[in-house]
C-alpha cells in the first residue's frame, strides 16, 4: 500500500548549510487542538499545500515573519543575513496526531518530519507544540514525547479564551517551569499572544532551552517507546508502565499549574479532568442532547444531508452554467479571431473545452467542501460518523465513509476527495472504490434521454410515472452494487477487520470563516491543478480520435464544416455542447458529412471494431461510439448520439428530433437499433461503468496508485458489462425484445 512507502531519508542532509537557510518551525499537536487556525494566523496567505512524497498525507507549509511588528532585533540565528533583513521562518503544519508511535500514516509522517528523517523535509529548528488549554492532560502526552526529541520547543496554549471563560485558571509560568520550555497562551481569533510566540521562537533559536532528562523516563524507556504491537509481555508491560508514568507526571503537572482551589480535588488521579469537564462542556452537552439523540439526531443528520445534496444539485447549477457558457463563448471568440486550421481546432476543442470540462465541476466541489469544512470545524462531522457507524459497519466500513459516499450522488470527484477524513488507508481505498457507483448528476442526462425516448408518459399503477420509477431503480442499483462490492472487497483484497472506532467527539466550536474559506480555496485549487493536467491530456486525445483521420473525399468547405460540428458537439464535454449552430449555412450537408467523418474517424472505426463485443448488450456500433466518448464524461453520450444520428449538434436530452432518430434508426439487418430493452440495458451500463476521466484522475491522485485506479475502472466495466448482458439477454428471453 502506498502509505507504507515513506522511508526515512538515508543520509542526514540537514546538518550542512544550516546557518544559510530560513529557520524551520514545525507545528505539532492533537487533532482539534487549533493547530490549523494557528497556522493560518501565523502564515496568512503565504502557504502552499502539497503531498508528502509517496503518500497522500497533505503537507502544508507557509512562511512566518518572525519579527514582531514593533521590534527590529534580529535573532542572530542566521549570521549571514543582514540585521535589517527580515527573518522569515518556514512553518510546516504537521498532521494532527495523538502520539508519535506511528500507528497511522499521519503519525508516521509527523514522526519522520520531526526527526528530520522525511525525504524532502528539512529538520525542525523549533517545534511549536500546540496544546488545547481546555484539555491539558491528553494534549500534554504528545508534549512529553516531543520533549524527548531534545529539540527547541515552544508550547503554545490555544483555546485560552475558552479556558478562561470556563474559569479554568492555568498558571503558564508554573507550567513552563514544570515542562522546562516556554509556554505561550494565544487567542488565535484576536491574534492575542502571537507576538509573544514570535519572541519565544526567536529566543529558542538563539538560546534553546532543551530539557535533558525527564522525570517520567525509566531506564529502558527509549527501547520500549516504539515497541511493536505484537510485542512480548515484557515489552508491552514496559511500554504500558512508561505510558502510565508519563500520565502520572502529567496529572501532577496539571494539578500544579491549574488553579485547583476552586475545584474539589480530592478524588486523586483523574479528578482534575473531571473538575474541568463538569463546568466546561455544558453547551456541547446541551447540543449533543439533540444532535446525537436516537431519533432527533438522525432527523437532524438527514436534514443536513438533504441540504448538502440539494445545494450540490440545485445551487451549483447556475455557476456551472456560467462557467460552461463562459468557456463556450471563449472558444467561439478564439475561433473567430484565429484562422481556420488544426491548431485552432486543437486550442478550442481540445484545450479550452478540456479545461472547461474540468472547471465546470468547480462550483460543486467548492460547495461540497464548504459544507465539509463547516461540518468539520464545528465538530459535527465526528457526530455524523458516530450516528452512522452502526450502519456502515454492516458493510465493513467506518462511520466516516458515509458522507463521502453521499456526496458521490452529486459527483464522485468531491466524494472521493472527501474520503480524506478516513484515516485507515484500506477503508479509504474501499470507500474510493465504491464511490463512483453512486449515481452522480452526470448520469442524469443519459437517464433523462432514455426515458424521454422510450418511457415517456407511461405510468404504473395508474399514478406512478414509469420514468421516475426507472430512475429510482437505477439509483438503487448503484447502492446495492456498492454494498456488494464493499462487502466483497473488505473480505478479499482489502481484507481487514472492521476498522476500530476510537474517535474523539470534540467540543462544538464556532468555525472561523477565514479557515473555512481557506480550506475551500485550497481544495478548489488542488482540484484544478490535479484533475486539470490529466483531463487536459485526455481531452486532447479524444479530440484527436474524432478528428483523425480526416475523411478524404470531403471538399475543403465541407471539411471545415465537419470539424466545426464535431467540435461544437463537444465530444470532450457534453455540457459544452449547447453551442448553437443553427445559423450555419449548409447545415444539412454538415450533419451528413460529420456522420461520414465520424464513421471514418478512429473513434468510429473503434466503435465498429468493438461492435461484436457490445452486440450481446443490445448496442450497435453507433452506441459504441457513444460509450467510448462517454468514458471522458458520461453526459458526452447525449451529444455524441446527436452527431451519430445526424440531427445537428445542439441536441438536448429531450430533443424530439434525436428521439425520433432513435426510433427510426435501423441496424444493418433492418431491425430497430433502439428498443426500450436496449435503453434499459444502456442505463444499467451507465449506472455501473466508470465512465468519467475526472473520476479516474482523482482516484489516481487520492489512492496514489495506478493499480487501484485501474482495478476500479476494470471491475466497474466488468460489472457494467455483466449487468447489461443479463438485462438485455434476460429481457429478450422474457420476450421484451
Amino acid at each position: 500500500m502506498s502509505t507504507s512507502t515513506l522511508t526515512p531519508h538515508a543520509a542526514t542532509p540537514h546538518t550542512a548549510h544550516r546557518s544559510n537557510r530560513n529557520p524551520v518551525v514545525m507545528l505539532a499537536g492533537n487533532p482539534n487542538a487549533g493547530k490549523t487556525s494557528l497556522f493560518n494566523a501565523l502564515t496568512g496567505l503565504r502557504q502552499k499545500v502539497a503531498n508528502y512524497p509517496g503518500v497522500t498525507v497533505e503537507r502544508v507549509e507557509g512562511q512566518w515573519m518572525l519579527h514582531a511588528s514593533d521590534n527590529g532585533d534580529a535573532s542572530g540565528f542566521d549570521s549571514s543575513q543582514s540585521l535589517s533583513q527580515s527573518l522569515m521562518a518556514r512553518v510546516i503544519d504537521l498532521p494532527g496526531l495523538y502520539s508519535l508511535d506511528a500507528l497511522s500514516p499521519d503519525e508516521q509522517i509527523a514522526r519522520c518530519c520531526l526527526a528530520g528523517e522525511a525525504a524532502g523535509v528539512p529538520a525542525p529548528d523549533v517545534i511549536i507544540a500546540v496544546v488545547d488549554a481546555t484539555n491539558l492532560e491528553r494534549n500534554l502526552y504528545l508534549v512529553t514525547q516531543l520533549l524527548e526529541y531534545r529539540k527547541p520547543i515552544v508550547v503554545t496554549l490555544t483555546m485560552f479564551d475558552t479556558a478562561t471563560r470556563r474559569k479554568l485558571k492555568i498558571d503558564t509560568a508554573q507550567l513552563a517551569a514544570r515542562l522546562g520550555v516556554p509556554v505561550v497562551p494565544v487567542i488565535v481569533s484576536t491574534q492575542h499572544g502571537l507576538d509573544e510566540l514570535r519572541a519565544a521562537v526567536r529566543q529558542e533559536l538563539v538560546a534553546p532551552s532543551v530539557v535533558e532528562s525527564f522525570s517520567w523516563q525509566m531506564d529502558d524507556a527509549d527501547k520500549v517507546t516504539n515497541a511493536t504491537l505484537n510485542a512480548d509481555d515484557a515489552t508491552w508491560n514496559a511500554w504500558q508502565s512508561s505510558l502510565e508514568a508519563r500520565y502520572r507526571w502529567i496529572e501532577d503537572v496539571v494539578a500544579d499549574a491549574t488553579d485547583s482551589t476552586t475545584e474539589s480535588n480530592h478524588n486523586g488521579r483523574g479528578s482534575t479532568a473531571h473538575s474541568e469537564i463538569n463546568n466546561a462542556d455544558d453547551l456541547t452537552t446541551r447540543i449533543d442532547r439533540w444532535v446525537t439523540h436516537k431519533v432527533f439526531g438522525l432527523l437532524i443528520f438527514v436534514g443536513l444531508m438533504l441540504l448538502v445534496f440539494q445545494s450540490i444539485f440545485a445551487w451549483a447549477s447556475l455557476p456551472m452554467d456560467l462557467i460552461d457558457n463562459g468557456f463556450g463563448a471563449l472558444g467561439a471568440g478564439i475561433r473567430a479571431a484565429l484562422p481556420e486550421g488544426l491548431f485552432t481546432d486543437l486550442l478550442v476543442d481540445g484545450i479550452i473545452a478540456g479545461v472547461g470540462g474540468v472547471l465546470v465541476f468547480l462550483p460543486q466541489i467548492c460547495l461540497l467542501f464548504l459544507f465539509i469544512a463547516l461540518l468539520e470545524d464545528t465538530g459535527y462531522m465526528a457526530r455524523a460518523a458516530f450516528l452512522m457507524d452502526r450502519l456502515m459497519r454492516g458493510v465493513g466500513l467506518h462511520g466516516k465513509a458515509f458522507v463521502p459516499l453521499l456526496s458521490s450522488f452529486a459527483c464522485a470527484i468531491p466524494g472521493i476527495m472527501a474520503t480524506r477524513t478516513i484515516e485507515n488507508p484500506r477503508d479509504r481505498i474501499a470507500t474510493i472504490m465504491i464511490a463512483p457507483l453512486m449515481s452522480c448528476s452526470a448520469r442524469l442526462p443519459v437517464y433523462t434521454l432514455m426515458i424521454a425516448a422510450f418511457f415517456a408518459d407511461r405510468r404504473v399503477f395508474g399514478f406512478l410515472s414509469l420514468g421516475a420509477l426507472i430512475i429510482l431503480v437505477m439509483y438503487a442499483l448503484g447502492i446495492v452494487a456498492a454494498i456488494v462490492v464493499a462487502t466483497l472487497l473488505k473480505r478479499t483484497l482489502l481484507r481487514a477487520p472492521t476498522p476500530p472506532l476510537v474517535m474523539e467527539l470534540p467540543p462544538y466550536r464556532v468555525p472561523q470563516l477565514r479557515v473555512v474559506a481557506h480550506t475551500v480555496m485550497s481544495r478548489a485549487w488542488m482540484f484544478i491543478r490535479r484533475a486539470g493536467t490529466v483531463i487536459l491530456a485526455i481531452s486532447i486525445l479524444l479530440w484527436g480520435l474524432v478528428t483523425f483521420p480526416r475523411t478524404a473525399q470531403l471538399t475543403g468547405e465541407q471539411q471545415s464544416a465537419v470539424t466545426q460540428s464535431v467540435r461544437e458537439t463537444g465530444l470532450e464535454n457534453g455540457a459544452t455542447a449547447a453551442v448553437d449552430v443553427a445559423g450555419n449555412d449548409g447545415a444539412e450537408a454538415n450533419t451528413q458529412s460529420q456522420g461520414a467523418q465520424l464513421r471514418g474517424s478512429f473513434a468510429g472505426r473503434f466503435g465498429q471494431f468493438i461492435e461484436p463485443a457490445i452486440a450481446p448488450l443490445g448496442f450497435d456500433w453507433r452506441i459504441g461510439i457513444g460509450l467510448i466518448s462517454s468514458f471522458a464524461a458520461r453526459e458526452v453520450f447525449v451529444s455524441t448520439m446527436s452527431i451519430v444520428y445526424n440531427v445537428g449538434s445542439d441536441a438536448t436530452e429531450e430533443d424530439t428530433s434525436l428521439i425520433s432518430a432513435f426510433t427510426d434508426a435501423r441496424r444493418d439487418d433492418g431491425s430497430p437499433a433502439w428498443t426500450p430493452l436496449v435503453a434499459v440495458s444502456l442505463m444499467v451500463f451507465f449506472v455501473l461503468a466508470c465512465q468519467c476521466m475526472s473520476t479516474v484522475a482523482i482516484a489516481r491522485r487520492e489512492t496514489n496508485s495506478w493499480a487501484w485506479t485501474l482495478f476500479m475502472v476494470a471491475y466497474m466495466l466488468v460489472l457494467a458489462y455483466a449487468a447489461s448482458f443479463v438485462t438485455y439477454q434476460g429481457g429478450r428471453l422474457l420476450g421484451f425484445a
Binding site: 492532560e137 460518523a385 476510537v502 467527539l505
Partner: protein, 101 residues
C-alpha cells in the same frame, strides 16, 4: 463482548450529579456500565492497536470514565475520560475493565 446490549438509557439525559453510585461494585466492563455512572478504570485486557491508541489517549488504569450515551442503533458509545469525549464501539469498550464508584 458484553451481552447486556439493551441497557436502559433513562439516565442519559439526567444530570451527571444524579448518577447512581454503586457501592462495592465488582469489576465490570466499560460496555456494561450504566449510562452516567462514574467508574475507575482497572485495566485494559487487549494488546492491539486499539488498546494502544486508547492508552495513549489517556484511557489508563486509574483514570475515571463515564458512559454518556449510545448512538441510535445502540453502538458506538460516547465515553467521557480526562475531560474529553470519545466514541468507541461496544466491542472495544468490552476490553476496558472498570469498577464503578
Amino acid at each position: 463482548m458484553c451481552n447486556n446490549l439493551l441497557i436502559s438509557d433513562t439516565s442519559v439525559d439526567n444530570a451527571p450529579t444524579n448518577a447512581p453510585h454503586v457501592r462495592q461494585s465488582p469489576t465490570t466492563q466499560l460496555c456494561c456500565l450504566p449510562f452516567g455512572v462514574q467508574a475507575r478504570i482497572t485495566g485494559i485486557d487487549s494488546r492491539d492497536a486499539v488498546a494502544r491508541r486508547l492508552m495513549e489517549m489517556g484511557v489508563l488504569p486509574g483514570a475515571m470514565v463515564r458512559v454518556i450515551k449510545a448512538a441510535p442503533f445502540g453502538c458506538p458509545l460516547e465515553i467521557e475520560v480526562r475531560g474529553y469525549r470519545l466514541a468507541m464501539r461496544r466491542a472495544e469498550a468490552a476490553h476496558v475493565s472498570v469498577v464503578a464508584g
